[in-house]
């Protein structure tokens, strides 16, 4: 039972354009959401998070949007840069809980 779903295993975007990565969840107890980025042979690194009391959080080129009624969140990267090429994982948890539930990841490739 996949509680966090990333339905696009891969995505290719031209450099300078917007990258949009999507994530859906099923567990209504989740109220804190995170995006991690992973390069080959490295561990995932934290990118950005959002609490369910907000519907948007922005950090530089990265913005996460949360639609609680649809149980959907998305990560927008604009403008996309070649260094953004990586696997992106969506993760969710009840706030203050230690266990993160991850999606299966989306491999983003930025085309120069």
């Amino acid at each position: 039972d996949q509680q966090v779903k990333q339905n696009s295993p891969s995505l290719s975007v031209q450099e300078g354009r917007i990258s949009i990565l999507n994530c859906d969840y099923t567990n209504s107890m989740f109220d804190y959401f995170l995006w991690y980025k992973k390069y080959p042979a490295e561990g995932p690194t934290f990118l950005i998070s959002i609490s369910s009391i907000k519907d948007k959080n922005e950090d530089g080129r990265f913005t996460v949007f949360l639609n609680k009624s649809a149980k959907h969140l998305s990560l927008h990267i604009v403008p996309s840069q070649p260094g953004d090429s990586a696997v992106y994982f969506c993760a969710a948890t009840p706030e203050g809980n230690e266990k993160l539930t991850f999606g299966t990841g989306t491999r983003l490739t930025i085309i120069p």
Binding site: Y32, Y36, G43, P44, F46, S49, L100, F102, G103, G105
Partner: protein, 114 residues
């Protein structure tokens, strides 16, 4: 060190053998986590330590898996009687406080069971 350190980075073993994977968290981080990432999947929670004690081991798949953190710093994940299905990347993470949610991960230990 500055980050979470995991050793070995790669381990190849035969079915039935015993393996130990080590994690050295960021100094001062009280919370330590083990996750497992199988091919094509996201990381899956195994166990979480707060200090020396295992606060939640509900993700350990069976009693062949065990983890310790005797002095509240370095942790060892132990797998007995390894099976081919145990092949995965084992990721360790730490955080300053429990429930902080933002984890700092190590590069992982890739285990291959032949």
């Amino acid at each position: 060190g500055a980050g979470v350190s995991q050793t070995p980075s790669n381990k190849v073993t035969e079915k039935g053998k015993y393996v130990e994977l080590r994690c050295d968290p960021i100094s001062g981080h009280t919370a330590l986590y083990w996750y497992r990432q199988s091919l094509g999947q996201g990381p899956e929670f195994l166990i979480y330590f707060q200090g020396t004690g295992a606060a939640d081991d509900s993700g350990l798949p069976n009693d062949r898996f065990f983890a310790v953190r005797p002095e509240g710093s370095v942790s060892t994940l132990k797998i007995q009687r390894t099976e081919r299905g145990d092949s995965a990347v084992y990721l360790c993470a730490s955080s300053l406080l429990a429930g902080a949610n933002v984890l700092t991960f190590g590069a992982g230990s890739r285990l291959t069971v032949l």
